[in-house]
Amino acid sequence: MTSRIVKTVTKDLLPFILLFGVYIILYGHLSPGGGFQGGVILATAVLLVVVVYGIGRFQKFIPYLTVAETVGVTLFVLIGMIGIAYGKQFLVNFGTIPLMNIIIGLKVFVGLLLMYLFFIGWEVKK
């Protein structure tokens, strides 16, 4: 996984894959796609870099990623509760669906990345 061709192509393709993932998240409420699908594409892009370039540079991000994941889910539930403050039901839609898509997209991205980093880290330690 460390040949020169693979490294160069990954380095040049990475912004386009990230852009495509962000596009699928943002257009999720009008066309096929949405939070989960876009999040998986973003995670795949970063995982490609991890597989090609090795895990060493990513080890120091793990605590920050865990915090980001938990903050994401808490924000989702709290935005759902804003509806209660205005007198209507939980998870009422008053223009917040794109915002929730973005939160879910970020959470799925971080979650899948953490899952893979833990699996690879386990293997290396043994």
Binding site: L30, S31, P32, G34, F36, M115, F119, W122, K126
Partner: protein, 107 residues
């Protein structure tokens, strides 16, 4: 006769056969994946209406396929992902403890 519903049920039974007769633990998890995807196929072909189009509300669309099973399947795919990740974590842990991947030797 060959439509999504029947192929879904056939794949489900193939997955079930895979879980019963495999000794290797990772192959059992793969059979679980086959079963999950067969349910996805089954559900999506439930909502098919002949000559319907994809459920995207652009102008000039007359008849759309039922979008509810597709929504349910999005949720189910996410839950299956979590289940597979958990099963593989338990398998790595088992391998660290026992040193073998054979179901009959471990338990």
């Amino acid at each position: 006769m060959i439509n999504g519903l029947n192929i879904g049920i056939v794949l489900f039974l193939i997955g079930l056969y895979g879980i019963i007769t495999n000794k290797n633990v990772i192959k059992m998890v793969m059979s679980l994946g086959v079963m999950g995807n067969s349910i996805v196929l089954f559900f999506i072909s439930l909502g098919y209406i002949t000559d319907g189009e994809a459920p995207i509300m652009t102008s000039g669309v007359k008849q759309i396929v039922d979008p509810i099973p597709q929504t349910l399947m999005l949720t189910m795919i996410v839950i299956n992902l979590c289940l597979t990740a958990l099963a593989l974590t338990i398998i790595v842990w088992l391998y660290n403890e026992f040193g073998t991947l054979d179901m009959r030797e471990i338990g």
